[in-house]
Subunit: 303 residues, 4 copies
């Protein structure tokens, strides 16, 4: 049985490579040549979306936004138009709930099935098959997708029925991303106050003020002077836009998220888009003309 | 040697009781009668602020706001006017940096010293001598205050020189309080999306989205249906007001904090002031007419 | 020469009626039957979009969002696919700049032209041929569209080249809509302060605090107790969403607009969506449990 | 009868000069020497606050903040302690409602009276006796203050009973100041969109988007390239701080005002504090790296 895989971007190529090297035969497609060649070197075949739809029972899609999912999968002439009844679309893109719901409706209408399983963690996790997945699917579909997910990741959450994966991803990224602006404000204040950064973290790590970004991501990224993007401000802004839009569509007021999104917009306007999203504290310090927050060499967090 | 203690409120009475029962002789004062009687029952004497100033080398103050510190300690006829050179004021109130700085200047000018050591954690920690302190003091003053602090708490951070304790407390509460609004938005969105709350926490606890409020405080408070105030929305709004004001005075833009503060203001306008600050999620759900977030009985967080 | 007209909604039907009765022969289309019948009664013909494209040199479109413009005009099988070179698309919808730009590019590529001319003022102005238009077009196209615009409105701004009409509309609605939230906050504060509403307006109208909403719209709508929608909160939220999205896409930080949009989202969550957008002050008073702002009978604004 | 006048700052000196030259005999005080000398040259006497309190039936105060009013008028040894029953304090400072209320209570308790009458418009209006006043007073007190007000200004609003003047001023400045941030966002968007500024104003002035700042103040200030402060960003931030604080104390949520205040804080952090508050659009363009908004020479607004 051949598995289709459409979308070999920064995340997708690692995920596809894990599938191929762990025993699945892939037929792959991307708009860019290089990753297709790389997958061929591992034994995968290449095909157009139409060829993939015709040849595969399961098609994995890992695309940038809901717009691409709509165009490649749902639009006239897209994957669904070339697929057989019984086909499963395993969409692992991070997209808007509206498109996810359309995907489930369209596949159901045609006697196919869909699973929404967006991906957590970073590109280097995907490369090593250590991703986290939030899965929205009926039980039978979940079981059918499980072997593939297990080949690509180490943590798999069955978050609920169809659509629950996409929505869980939004809730999770909501917190992870806005925490960056929250930490940015707190640490720029700490810097202006002249507090020692190490002493500040010593306190914060031991109270309910602590958070995953500040504890796990920041000490190795911006606070160590490394702003290379594990997850870029541009991508964070894109996800935040998706989240705020979904919340507004669902009539859930999110004033803090909305304020944070404008801070990310400022960051982009000032040229920080390709920095790691922890660099939001550098943006805050830049705008307010405060010294940047950097840990002294050899800082060890409290046990 | 007798230690003065002014301010026997919800936190102060526990702190004073620990001092008195662990070997210090206190002379105490409050504007309310009951806690003074209770401290007398433990062996403390009572006195006016003037009598305390005259009798004690160290005076602990634990007052509601900077205004009371200014009136009781700094104003004409206040404690400083009745104290001898060499006296140490150990101010443990959570107040504005401006008043803390005035306290340090005024004591220095008179040949006295001051330590700012605001208190973390909740009233029940204070009762058991398990508080956390963020201390702003020169080394010598820190050493002089240390035995008292050790009698009242278990975690003591020497955060820097004079004024650093007050400022560290603001940075810490900044995060702890605003996290409540952040979680409120994320969980009200999760509720509207129809996601299972237990499954949502299962995901969030395992990613960088996690945070001290969501992990430690919330499962035992609002998510368990308990909104009795460990720390009330009214107090959180008061601290947030202090923080936003201090940030504005220091020219540090805090757009997310400012948005969060208005959410706390809404909560108070709608009668939630005496609820625990985790109940911000109930406010969000109330305003948007969403079902409240409550954990199923027997929920166990992932290991 | 027959003019095509697609989109006979609340605004479109009035605009089309004015064209038909002022000497233009229309071929019209809508997804709803009733307004087509009404236009036929005035002498218009009806047709599918494809028939209209084939028959008309100028096609006016007045559609809800950019999505409908993309589907009806730009998509495969849409109007452009059935139109001849030289055709002009006069798009009067309020849509996102991205779709407007695509419209101009697509028409240019096919040897056609386009004009973006979104409509200001309310439905009753459209009914009377008293609309305001912001027009983005090259000079020649502007001249070609002018007779139609003059039949439908009384104020015509040539705002710049292709795309400038859509963008001007967004800037204009930006202010008009957010003013409603600004006035809502100011007047709810005034109410809580116990100030007389008439006296408050007497002051505001005479200083730089005055604004078009407060002066022109509000005294006849919410402040007179009339919340029937001239322009509904739902539509205002839709436009605000468009504006915030366009600003974020253009990297223009808009923190006040973002905060206002969440207030409109709250209004919708609480069931105010079909009220006039001046009723934002009722929402503010409702949420904060303040008495509603209503003018005393017989209030006369200062000369 | 001699009138006392305390506070000869930027506004106060012009107001006092008008009183003195229009027939009132003043006894004046300020902490700065120069304006006292200037008033003496016009025939005024000088005195300490205590001397003024002892000599005058009416004492006008024009001080920077509520803190100075509390210290100079209300504190032990202040003006009230030296004044006779029947004295009227005419406080024209822009201060917090809490201090205004304390002033009314304290004077009432001592058989004196107070009027709160903060001042609108700018310093050059005060110089010419063309100020606007919002007056909070009982009718009798209003009549007693009226001759003085008429000597200093041209527009006098009796806004309600004691405290209504201070509160009306806050509501008015709320709108006038936040309009600047609103216009800043709209015009920075217009600039980024490449719209012609003159054409933009042509549209905005003719719709409900128009507002007093955009119509009256801005064309002569920032849009003409003049950022000399008629009213500075520092002062606007101070007033906005007062307003947001008063709204929070009164439990009136003001999310848009809170967002705007942080924008003013950014402006100050970036060194714009001494610019006119219309220069908020320069701040927005600076932060987002957009070309500044300036009118072409010879721009004439539509009739």
């Amino acid at each position: 049985m051949t598995i289709g895989f459409v979308g070999l971007g920064k995340m997708g190529r690692g995920m596809a490579s894990n599938l191929q090297t762990k025993g699945f035969s892939l037929m792959v497609h991307d708009v860019v040549e290089a990753p297709m060649t790389a997958l061929e070197a591992l034994g995968a075949k290449r095909g157009t979306p139409a060829e993939i739809a015709a040849a595969c029972d399961i098609v994995v899609t890992m695309l940038p936004t809901g717009k691409e999912v709509a165009e490649v999968v749902l639009a006239p002439g897209g994957i669904l138009d070339h697929a057989r009844p019984g086909t499963m679309i395993l969409d692992m893109s991070t997209i808007d709930p509206e498109t996810t719901d359309r995907l489930h409706e369209e596949t159901r209408r045609r006697g196919m099935t869909a699973v929404d399983a967006p991906v957590g963690r970073l590109a280097w996790h995907a490369d090593r098959g250590q991703s986290l997945f939030m899965v929205g699917a009926d039980d039978a579909d979940y079981q059918r997708a499980l072997p593939l997910l297990q080949a690509m990741g180490t943590t798999i959450h069955h978050s609920g029925g169809p659509g629950a994966g996409t929505r869980m991803k939004l809730v999770n990224n909501y917190l992870a991303i806005i925490l960056c602006q929250l930490n940015a404000e707190a640490l720029s204040l700490s810097q202006r106050f002249g507090l020692d950064l190490g002493k500040t973290l010593d306190v914060l790590y031991g109270t309910t003020a602590t958070n995953g970004q500040l504890k796990v991501n920041w000490p190795n990224k911006v606070l160590a002077g490394d702003t290379e993007p594990g997850f870029s401000i541009d991508l964070a802004h894109k996800d935040l836009t998706l989240i705020v839009q979904a919340a507004n569509a669902a009539r859930v007021p999110v004033p803090v998220a909305a304020a944070a999104r404008e801070a990310f917009s400022q960051a982009r306007a000032r040229g920080y888009g390709q920095n790691d999203f922890s660099a939001m504290v550098d943006v805050a310090c830049d705008i307010a003309q405060i010294e940047r927050a950097r840990l002294p060499k050899g800082y060890t967090p409290p046990a």
